[in-house]
């Protein structure tokens, strides 16, 4: 396992090899393992160890990056030379800033809780197989077939630069995802945490199994506008499509749905969203692609778009732009991607605000005269970038709710839904939880009851 002192030593070697005005080195990688099961057996089972060193050099407004996973001295020398060669042929970029000094950038970055757990790092293949055995035994008890994963990892992220900045983050992660399949229906659950002790494989398996047998013999109901109850993973996967638009550069590039909409009320008054890497349910490193510490940023408050996030260069550029008086506070927030890049920045540690009247999914069902309960969404894509119309499918547990009760499973729907309208039509929300899906990054989000959700077609199952 690459450690902090070894990384610092590699950085010094790289620095000696470089003739550039400035050098920045990113480290990433680690050990990961994933046990995959289907048809009630383990069918794939993998482990990997890999570390990547990424060198950015800069010569007076010109910069480029070169990356390798070979850590011997000759390879490090070559990667530095490659980066320098690429940088030297660039056209000077007047917007390129000097690399940051330690402490430069975001002003009030909070400390994060520890995200490294020795017992998670020490999980063996046999222990992962034991967890799969438990899940399979629950599937067999219910006469179902199961598929999914049990994975663990121990990873590092680090940044060092020639102006004295050095930051290091190591953490563990663990994840379980379970699909239970019946003859004509299925159910799904997924959870992850830096600490494997926080995962409950039996609980996840039982819930997925219940969804599978309760949605058996799904009936077709017509497409149309329905009240929907979106479980947290479904909320996560759909709202994830808007957060790249909260980067300052996306406003400057005029590709954001927030162009001309910052400081306006775009969503319902019950929507509060922040980016907060230090939140106890969040994960990841407390610094960005340049090593700037991540600040907590209130993105949406009472439905009003309050702030954007900024890499250092984007903040400077925004201050000089025609947009500067229409986008709220402008300052580096520690959300930049590694340079050079075209996307600028994005908030990746999303936390939805808790509703003072948090409502459980069961309470949402009980208060619904007619609606659809959605476990999971799938294959979501953007149809219209400014109205933020998204299309996608329901999957693995879709139910008709009538008169306050789940009645039966229904065939899966295709939706075409404006995200702006959806977040304006949230009738009630649950307590935000750490959720994980497949279409977006993990977030802390609540379940939501949404009015007039637009299903446009029904599929065959």
């Amino acid at each position: 396992m690459l450690n902090q002192s070894k990384a610092a030593e590699i950085f010094e070697r790289i620095r000696k090899h470089s003739t550039a005005d400035e050098v920045e080195v990113l480290f990433s990688g680690g050990k990961s393992a994933l046990t995959r099961f289907a048809n009630n057996i383990i069918h794939q089972n993998v482990a990997e160890e890999n570390y990547v060193v990424s060198v950015r050099t800069a010569f007076g407004g010109r910069t480029a990056r070169s990356t390798t996973n070979k850590l011997d001295d000759e390879s490090l020398k070559r990667v530095v030379q490659s980066s320098e060669k690429l940088a030297k042929v660039q056209h000077p970029d007047p917007d390129l800033l000097p690399i940051p000094k330690a402490g430069e950038g975001a002003g009030s970055a909070p400390a994060i809780p520890t995200r490294h757990f020795a017992e998670t790092a020490a999980i063996t293949p046999a222990e992962r197989a034991e967890t799969v055995e438990k899940i399979v035994s629950i599937a067999e008890k219910h006469k179902l077939t199961t598929a999914g994963i049990v994975s663990t990892a121990e990873t590092i992220e680090a940044v060092f630069n020639s102006r004295g900045l050095g930051d290091w983050h190591s953490q563990t992660s663990s994840e379980i995802s379970i699909t239970m399949l019946a003859a004509d229906s299925s159910g799904w659950q997924k959870a992850n945490s830096p600490n494997v002790a926080n995962l409950n494989p039996a609980g996840l398996a039982e819930t997925a199994a219940r969804k599978a047998f309760e949605s058996a013999s799904p009936r077709e109901i017509p497409a149309g506008k329905y009240t929907v109850i979106l479980e947290p993973a479904a909320v996560l996967d759909i709202v994830g499509f808007m957060f790249f638009d909260f980067g300052g550069l996306s406003i400057l590039d005029q590709r954001s749905f927030l162009n001309n909409r910052v400081e306006t009320k775009l969503f319902g008054a019950n929507i509060d969203i922040s980016d907060d890497v230090a939140h106890p349910l969040q994960s990841g490193a407390p610094f960005d692609g340049e090593g700037v510490r991540r600040e907590k940023v209130q993105l949406v408050e009472n439905g009003v778009i309050k702030r954007l996030v900024y890499a250092r260069a984007t903040a400077e550029k925004m201050m000089r732009s025609e947009h500067k008086d229409k986008v709220g506070p402008i300052a580096p927030t520690g959300h930049g991607f590694p340079l050079p890049n075209e996307m600028g920045e994005a908030p990746m540690n999303i936390v939805f605000g808790a509703s003072p009247q948090a409502t459980s999914v069961e309470q949402m069902i009980a208060s619904t005269e007619r609606g659809v309960l959605v476990t999971r969404l799938w294959y979501i894509r953007e149809v219209d970038p400014y109205e933020k119309i998204l299309t996608g499918m329901t999957r693995d547990g879709t139910f008709l709710v009538e008169d306050g009760k789940i009645r039966h499973g229904v065939r899966n729907f295709r939706f075409n839904q404006s995200l702006i309208q959806m977040l304006s039509n949230v009738e009630s929300m649950g307590t935000p939880v750490r959720a994980s899906g497949e279409e977006s990054f993990d977030m802390v989000v609540p379940a939501m009851k949404v009015l007039d959700f637009n299903f446009t077609e029904v599929t065959k199952f």
């Binding site: 993998v46 570390y51 996973n69 980066s83 590709r255 899966n412």
Partner: protein
């Protein structure tokens, strides 16, 4: 590299593996991009390592490492065996592989110009010229270009004595113009959206695509779309351009024929398939004009699914998938071939790199062109309906029945003529109903092997390039416009 692989195979077999293979891979890539007159990204990367796959106690194990020292390779092989033994705790049957004659072979993508020999300055100058041409059109608010090269060198050695050295070259290039005004963002891309055109070729691809010559038109179309009429909703005859048809094949033919999906191995992530075994050689997948093959051979063309051997040493093959409309074949591997009564793999096991387990992937899944001469303009001249070009969004359910695609630009066709530009065209349907509605496809002159460079599948997820030969084709009475219905 043979020594390194031998260390792995020796330890694996000493520890009791009944089968082992090792892939040492050395990947190199370059990515260049521009945005609004400036270089957006300039990066080189390389990745080197070994992936060791074993069967022990009748179950699979796989371990990979970036450390190719003897001690690390041997430890990685031992880890793969330990993992396989853990897998064996939850098994029902022992893994059995379809027989394959081991070969010793060398192969390299045929190319005229090694893309890594072209100077970065020359490439950036070309991209900036394109960028300038795009932004010379009043109303273009964002211009983006990209150019990508990859060289993948791999040594595959197995305990059955296979010894294969392959080197693949990939070139990709594309650009897009955006126009933002009022409450609308429109976009046009060339030669395709989401990164352009990608093929297993050398730098010669860059010259073949007439990049600079098309830039102004693309910029003008992006701006014109802002004032175009909204594509109407209803049932229409539609013509899809070749790039869109390529993606339609990828999503509604390529994925459902993957045998691992059919067998439930992807049920938790990528999904399953409506193509259950009872449908093989009985399902009318499409009209009589629909002929689809999965062809990894060089003679099929420079697709991203072209190679000499797959990642378990099986030679590239051509498998008929749909023959005159009848469903005739799946994509298979040595482990899965027996499930469809085959005694040999179809040769479609592929891995993103050394650190990923090979899984069943599309090769070049292509629709064959008409044998009768038919140009795109002749097809348009024979059609009332909507012509759609260049994908904008795509979505399909997890069994691959219901799909919805939208395109960047449409044209209303009346009396065989393009009568007005249409913005936000979309269409949707059910896979087999759609393919049965195809009543014309253009001939070889219009047929291009399109690249889909970023196909995601597997856990941990692997991104793979696939190829799709396609020509413009017509479909009768298709549902159009539901993407905007009720929104």
């Amino acid at each position: 590299m043979k020594d390194i692989s031998s260390w792995a195979l020796n330890i694996a077999t000493q520890r009791g593996a009944s089968y082992a293979d090792a892939r040492v891979a050395d990947d190199r890539s370059r990515a260049l991009s521009t945005k609004n007159g400036k270089v957006g990204g300039a990066s080189d990367s390389e990745s080197f390592g070994i992936g060791i796959r074993v069967i022990a106690d009748g179950a699979w194990g796989f371990a990979a490492s970036d450390d190719l020292s003897r001690s690390a390779v041997e430890a990685t092989a031992a880890r793969a065996v330990d993992i396989a033994r853990a897998s064996a705790r939850v098994k029902q049957h022992d893994i059995k592989l379809a027989p394959e004659k081991p070969v010793t072979a060398e192969w390299t993508t045929p190319f005229q110009i090694d893309p890594f020999t072209i100077s970065v300055e020359q490439n950036i100058d070309l991209l900036l010229q394109i960028d300038s041409e795009l932004r010379s059109v009043a109303g273009v608010t964002l211009a983006e270009t990209n150019m990508n090269f990859r060289r993948e060198e791999q040594w595959f050695v197995s305990s059955e004595d296979a010894n294969i050295h392959q080197t693949k070259y990939t070139t990709g290039v594309g650009y897009a113009a955006y126009a933002f005004a009022g409450s609308e963002i429109q976009k046009r891309s060339y030669p395709n959206s989401y990164g352009g055109q990608w093929q297993n070729k050398g730098y010669e691809l860059i010259g073949e695509l007439k990049l600079l010559e098309n830039a102004r038109r693309v910029g003008e179309e992006a701006v014109a779309l802002l004032k175009a009429d909204q594509c109407p909703e209803g049932a229409f005859n539609i013509i899809l351009d070749g790039s869109q048809l390529g993606l339609q094949i990828h999503e509604s033919v390529g994925h459902p024929i993957e045998l691992d999906r059919v067998l439930g191995m992807e049920a938790n992530f990528a999904g399953t398939s409506f193509l259950t075994f009872d449908k093989l050689r009985t399902l009318r997948y499409g009209s009589d004009l629909v002929n689809v093959v999965a062809d990894a051979r060089q003679e099929h063309g420079p697709g991203l699914g072209t190679f000499a051997f797959d990642e378990e040493g099986v030679p590239a093959q051509c498998t008929p998938i749909i023959s005159n409309g009848l469903f005739t074949g799946y994509l298979s591997s040595r482990e899965t071939a027996h499930t469809i009564g085959m005694n040999r793999s179809g040769g479609t096991l592929r891995a993103e790199s050394w650190n990923r387990l090979p899984i069943i992937r599309m090769t070049n899944v292509s629709i064959l062109p008409s044998e009768q001469p038919l140009s795109r303009e002749q097809l348009i001249a024979d059609t009332d309906g909507v012509y759609m070009e260049t994908n904008k969004s795509w979505s399909i359910d997890d069994k691959r029945y219901n799909f919805q695609f939208s395109c960047e630009m449409g044209w209303e066709l009346k009396n065989g003529k393009r009568t007005r530009m249409l913005k936000n065209p979309s269409y949707s349907g059910i896979t087999t109903e759609f393919w049965n509605a195809m009543d014309a496809i253009c001939s070889r002159d219009e047929w291009v092997v399109w690249g889909t460079p970023h196909c995601g599948k597997g856990q941990p997820q692997q991104v793979m390039g696939t190829g799709h030969g396609a020509a413009p084709a017509r479909f009768r009475n298709i549902k159009v416009g539901s993407a905007y219905k009720g929104t």
